[in-house]
Amino acid sequence: MKPFAYTAPSSVDAVVEALRVAQPGTKILAGGTTLYDLMKLGVEAPSAVIDVHRLPELTGISVTDSELVLGAGVRMADVSDHPVIRPSYTALAESIWRAASQQLRNMATLGGNLLQRTRCGYFRDADMPCNKRNPGSGCAAMEGVDRPHALLGASSLCSATYAGDFAIALLAFDAVVDVVGPRGERSIPLAELHVEPGEDPRREHVLDVDELIVRIRVPLTEAGRGSTYLKIRDRESYAFALASAAVGLVIDGAGIVTESRIALGGVATRPWRAVEAEQSLLGQPLTAAAARRAGEIAFAAARPGRTNEFRIELGIRTVADAVRTAGERAVR
């Protein structure tokens, strides 16, 4: 690992000041379960890190009349067991609880979780060609193992999957991320936070290097109660998604779907909202056929690689099953 300078400022203001004067190559460190891991592998090599893991201002979970407010430094484990989040934002709690292990959830923060990096094995292996890590070196996945790679949103340069779970559920609920930096504060809808690889696979999100996520806000919605996060993995627990879906529904007294939210995980280069699939459910009763059709619409634009075509049908069924589960919870 390359040597790096370490500081742990004690307030958000001090972090912003440290970011303002930071040398090139400075990175924010939270739980370290992505950053420190990749530093050990030689994939990341910051010249300096600014540790925000224990900043008191980034902690805390609160519920107002209109939204749920989550500090960027809240640990994942504190969300999955939270007494309000579990019943009223079920998909959020499930997306966290089905991610990583309890040890990692005790360390990892929500802010770091959103910005976690892909698990593409070639990206994580500093000796392999990878356009994301080393622009212009090529993409080893194109000729190599592409089983876990993206079916949606890939470019000719990179098809790495966005691996996180939490952002998928946040996207379905129209969450907003508040950030602060030397040029002041701004709010970014989660839908605009991550970007597709396009011509520049290095760039994964729209934050500047000197911007700190301080909190995540999730609007209150009836669909939070009628929601689920379904994650299909190679094993029952403790693995990244082969396909996942966050679904939230509102169903009226006559059994008609009046609100519909669907986002896909594990299958795209960024958290992926399935807008047309959502719309296909609106204004009618929820049937098994409608759930299946929503899945088919969600994957209509999917383009498989050489060895991952099976994940299209898997993804369709994941959406269909999640829609049915959300529907059962919505009418309860």
Binding site: A5, Y36, Q102, Q103, L104
Partner: protein, 162 residues
């Protein structure tokens, strides 16, 4: 120009390890796992993958379980670290969970066992032991290459019932 052998900075850290105060001057690159094993000679905590996958390096930080291989040691400043070396019964005999591992044949080679025990203790303290499915889910961060899982789940269930 700094080379890979020279730290860019050193950081002074004070913490407790198994109840004993410890002062360390750290290169910020050092993991808690390496500090425990190489500097403090607490080799009960094992290094399996060194990438956060296997759980062999599980310790408790202020009572919560973490993987020490992905914990930069500088982050334990002011915190309490507990390792497998701190685990005993009230009179110095085996802790009930350790005894339950013996009773249920919950190991073969034993390499994963310190991590399993630290994780199992936390799982019980968290109250995530309602049934075998919940125990399995909350121990899924601890991999056992020997496949002693049936015994491990039985041991945690037995200790949780006491």
């Amino acid at each position: 120009m700094s080379t890979n052998d020279v730290p860019a900075t050193t950081v002074d850290v004070t913490c407790t390890v198994n109840g004993e105060p410890v002062q360390l001057r750290l290169d910020p690159r050092e993991s808690l796992l390496d500090v425990l094993r190489e500097r403090l000679a607490l080799t009960g905590t094992k290094k399996g993958c060194d990438q956060g996958h296997c759980g062999a390096c599980t310790v408790h930080l202020d009572g919560r379980r973490v993987v020490s291989c992905l914990t930069p040691a500088v982050q334990v400043d002011g915190l309490q670290v507990h390792t497998i070396e701190s685990v005993t019964g009230p009179d110095g005999e085996l802790h009930p969970l350790q005894q339950a591992f013996v009773d249920n044949d919950a190991l073969q080679c034993g390499y994963c066992t310190p991590g399993q025990i630290m994780s199992g203790l936390a799982c019980i303290a968290e109250g995530h032991t309602a049934d075998d499915d919940e125990i399995r889910e909350y121990l899924s961060g601890n991999v056992c290459r020997c496949g002693a899982y049936v015994g491990i789940v039985a041991a945690v269930r037995q200790a949780a019932q006491r």
